[in-house]
């Protein structure tokens, strides 16, 4: 038997082995295990454990920050008697994670590009009036502080520690960003999933996909939003990060935002009742399975049943 023939025979074995291995690989994907767990009542069970970066105190507007944190400023001498306290001065000494004050954080991480006053330089835009929601969104999603890499839209993990972010939120808002949207309170548990689905497919899914897994504009990718926290989602709707349109409070009420987030929380843990979801890539992935698994299987069986020549 010639070498060529032997290799041919081997190839016959390899193709199905690879196909079976590929199928096995899918079945091993960790997400598969969750299908059974999500069964009983998808709404309540999946939306329960949501990490929230929002505390009730943070939701007040930036005009007056009389939260316990800012009490620390009382120990410092006021600028001059008879003159109202500058809120920026008050917020400057809020202490972040490593005992560093907000003002120092600002100077370390932000001022180089946005300018000492935050009014922008040729390297970065002005932050005047962008609102606390924008500051918090940029920091908590890790878009800021930007080191040297080009703008990144994923993942949603912050670069700075949470305490630093809270301090900077307050300081930057008081310094320059006041006047824009405040950090919204988002509570997906109070939202109606079905209503949220309608709103999401009407306003969001064209870019972010029905599952929130992202998409593509003709000139740039659209990030997946399945990792976003409810607060980030609410902030993004209000401020319209990057090229995303803004949604004002009269356009989408806070209960509608709750509904959208309730849907998204549900979409994060889809009820994949039918087996392996093939990464939720839709019909083309299903087509790939047909060609690479089912059709190869049919060919293999036919080859075994029939003869050559």
């Amino acid at each position: 038997m010639s070498l060529r023939r032997t290799l041919g025979r081997l190839a016959l074995v390899w193709v199905p082995v690879l196909a079976v291995a590929a199928l096995g690989g899918w079945l091993m994907v960790p997400g598969r295990g969750s299908t059974a767990a999500a069964s009983a009542s998808p709404t309540s069970s999946t939306t329960a454990p949501i990490p929230s970066t929002t505390t009730p105190g943070q939701t007040t507007t930036t005009a007056a920050p009389p939260t316990p944190l800012s009490n620390g400023t009382a120990n410092h001498p006021p600028a001059s008697p008879g003159v109202p306290v500058n809120p920026a001065t008050a917020a400057a000494n809020i202490v972040g994670a490593n005992g560093v004050t907000a003002k120092v954080l600002w100077q370390q991480d932000c001022a180089a590009c946005h300018g000492e006053t935050g009014r922008g330089t040729d390297r970065a835009p002005s932050l005047a009036g962008v609102g606390e929601a924008a500051v918090d969104f940029e920091l908590t999603t890790g878009r800021m502080p930007k080191k040297d890499s080009p703008s990144k839209t994923e993942p949603f993990s912050p670069i700075l520690p949470e305490a630093d972010i809270k301090a900077l939120d307050r300081y930057v808002t008081a310094l320059v960003a006041h006047g824009g949207p405040a950090i919204p309170t988002v509570n997906p548990l109070a939202g109606d999933v079905a209503k949220g689905h309608e709103l999401f497919t009407e306003d969001c899914a064209a870019c972010h996909n029905w599952s929130g897994s992202g998409g593509i504009l003709y000139n740039r990718p659209v990030p997946a939003i399945t990792e976003a926290t409810p607060t980030q989602l609410g902030e993004a709707l209000r401020i319209g990060p990057d090229v995303m349109p803004k949604f004002g409070p009269k356009e989408l009420s806070s209960s509608q935002v709750n509904a959208i987030d309730a849907y998204l929380e549900q979409a994060k843990h889809p009820y994949d009742h039918g087996g392996d979801p093939i990464s939720h890539l839709g019909p083309f992935a299903e087509g790939a399975v047909v060609w690479l698994v089912a059709l190869v299987g049919v060919m293999f069986v036919s080859r075994w049943i029939g003869k050559r020549g």
Binding site: D203, L217, V243, P245, K246, E251
Partner: protein
Amino acid sequence: MTEESDKQRRAGTAVLVCLVGAAVLGCGMAVVYWTTGNIGLEGGLLGACFLLLAVGLVLWAHHLLPEGPFVEEYPDLQSPAAEEASVLATLHRGGVGRRRVLLGSIGAVAVTIGASLLSTIRSFGPSANSLAHTPWRQKRVLVDSDGKPIKMGDLPVGAALSVYPQGFIEAPMVACMLIHLPPHANHPLPGRRAWAPGDYICYSKVCSHAGCPVNLYDRVSMDLECPCHQSTFDVTRGAHPVFGPAAGSLAQLPLSVDPDGTLRSAGDFSEPPGPVFWHWSKGVAGG
């Protein structure tokens, strides 16, 4: 040939094992169905049952059944000329083929019947035939999908919202994108200067290419994009297509403002919304 029969006996055993296995798996499927109803187990067990049955049958065919080569003649498809001639003669029996006028009349009757039956497909269509007019014509208030009217000032600059004519949210071809442009961004087409009061501008959400909802809005480049085929329209210049397979602009909806700030259409779309068709410029479905 004891070796041969040994081989056959072994094959027989293998076939038996496969068939018994298949039967067990089939029973397993029934048990799962009546107990948990887990479709993964059901499909897996039934699938494995069939595969094992297939293996058994192939082993049976390969080892226990006669394998040729058997030979068979291909049929002679073309008949002898004499037979052909006799068939043709039979067709002319009774002089059927000579009565040209009668045959022609039968053809004419058939055509008539066909045409009259075909005309009943008209029943499949609706009674009205306008693709051009939408409820927007009656100067309706713009509402969101919950039916809430939209007022000037509801949308921040850079916002985009799907809007519908009040009372006709689910009607065909009415969905629009209302966009609040930054000041001075709009370059209106001639005659459309008054169509975008307060930089609120409104275009049909039905793509001029294949009719998908155009609702990707890029607030920096101020483009609307279609998620189906990536056609991209420049909102500031009459939604003129700048990329993708669409050849025409999105239809624009003229807006007006009520004294209390409520937005309202000032008339129907600038052109029939959605994909174009043969009588598009006339705005009707058929001649």
